[in-house]
């Protein structure tokens, strides 16, 4: 039987939801890996993790926020970002020199606000 990554993720999240201790959660992970190996679906592991994260975040109301900046953020900037996010949000900070300057924020891989200098240059050059 050919299972899609999403189907694996749904089943895994269901099992994790019912697990109450750390041991049983570990057991769920181990069982998933055994099943994936048995079905020779190791290639799908990355996508399974992606969908599992989405499902778990959706259920718990957590958001994954990726903050990309050209340089290390100053304390002021970090404080400003903290003021916009909830404590439950998973904030990932990444240094991306290709942005040249500015910040790019991606929320849940679904919405983004791109305030980078590289994008502004690209937009100006497109109008010429």
């Amino acid at each position: 039987m050919n299972y899609s990554p999403k189907l694996y993720a749904i089943a895994f999240c269901q099992a994790v939801k019912e697990a109450k201790t750390a041991d049983s959660i570990n057991k769920c992970i181990k069982s998933l890996l055994v099943l994936v190996e048995k079905n020779r679906d190791q290639k799908k592991l990355r996508d399974i993790a992606f969908f599992a994260e989405k499902i778990l975040n959706k259920e718990s109301g957590h958001r994954k926020i990726l903050v990309e900046s050209a340089r290390v953020l100053t304390k002021e900037n970090e404080e400003m970002i903290d003021s916009f996010t909830k404590k439950t949000d998973q904030v990932v900070k990444k240094i991306n020199p290709s942005l040249v300057a500015g910040v790019k924020i991606v929320i849940d891989d679904e919405v983004q606000i791109d305030g980078s200098f590289s994008k502004k240059i690209k937009r100006v050059l497109n109008t010429i």
Binding site: D47, F50, V106, D109, I113, D114
Partner: protein, 507 residues
Amino acid sequence: MSYEIIEKLKQAIDGYKDTEKLEQVGRVIESGDGIVKIYGLKNVRSQEVIVIESDKGDVSALALNLEEDSVGALVLGDHVGIKSGDIVKRTNKLLSIEVGKSLLGRVVSPLGEALDGRGSIFTKEKSELRPLENDAPSVLEREPVDTPLHTGIKTIDSMIPIGRGQRELIIGDRQTGKSAIVIDTIINQHVDTYRKTPVCIYVAIGQKESKIAKTLETIKNAGALDYTIIVSAPASSPAALWYLAPYAGCAIGEYFRDNGQDAVVIYDDLSKHAWAYRQISLLLRRPPGREAYPGDIFYLHSRLLERAAKLSKKKGGGSLTALPIVETQLGDVTAYIPTNIISITDGQIYLESDLFYQGVRPAVNVGLSVSRVGSKAQTPAMKKIAGKLRLELAQFRELQAFIQFASDVDDATKKKIKRGQIITEILKQSDLAPMPFEKQIIILFAALNNYLDDVESSELSELQGKLVENIEKLHDKEILEPLRKTGTLDKETEEKLKAAIENFITK
């Protein structure tokens, strides 16, 4: 030069508005064979252009499959640099092509990029964006097809007339002269004086680049490039471009149609278009149906061909004629795609390889070819002359089959067979030699009024050339000019024509 660039840059910076907005994005979760699967992009529309930010730069794609939480898209550029995890953005624009009069004489890709090495297309002239997928004109916006589109091919203009706004399929095996017919039609338009020259759009789908180059050269040498546009999706281009090429050609044709002009769009050929769509659909994991084509293959072609129309005077009176080509395998017209397109179009010109190898060129099988618009779209003079042509040919074919078994035939039958041979002979025409309709009338008039009955079949080809030459030189003003101008053969002109032919034959 550098000053100009700096000035342009300054202007662009002055006009720049720094308004960052929230953008809807998605992430590539699967990529391969020019198809990507994207997670996210919840509100994306079908046929919307999306942009994939890959390592090798931005690549455009077309959203096709809208699923529960993923989107299947067709990559329009180089798909090699796209990898899982790349960010995808919406553009909120449906796939469109820039159209305008500057396209005339150019070779473009289905996305509107110039392919002829003559620089950018739109520099000074006005242009507009037209969506590749567009609604066909409604019933109220249409008018019956009544204006002829002369192909310059005697067999077609006399027995299978094509009207402006009609959809006429050209069907046959490989190497039977399908493309030759449409190229002749393009070339014939500029010799068809006193009639509006239609804009011709030749859509080459999955053809060898050498063949496209040869077609371009032929059209150019014949002086027909000024009113022709070539949309090229060669064999080396991805299936996405093969799939989009007919729609791009149609969108260009619609621009001219909606501006009150006449346009002819040639799809060469729709079998390859169907193959490309089958490939895309299978990669998008849509369920396969008959011959592995997806369920909407009929709609793929019907929505394309329905856009060909003759518009009402209220809508400008323009027209878009469609000449789709379909390649059959071993003459099988009952395959899936041929039957689909036969049922959509307003008639078909069926080319037969047997006839081709017998030396009957164009190898049109008159019995199986039909124009459902009929004689309404025929010039009155041609209608008057060629009315009984089809019947005489049919009788000849029947007798020809019969005399294969019978050894003795009476004189009347012999005569009929002889006339059939004469008609078959005069309908032969080499490619790249389209004949203006007034000259066709002279030849058909002479053949159908028994003037050529005593001529040997082998001499007919030479004789018809001489007859036309004679009338062109001696009677151009009193016979050819009125025919050209009015399209009718009145009694006076008919008498003059009779006298001229008699005079020529007795000589």
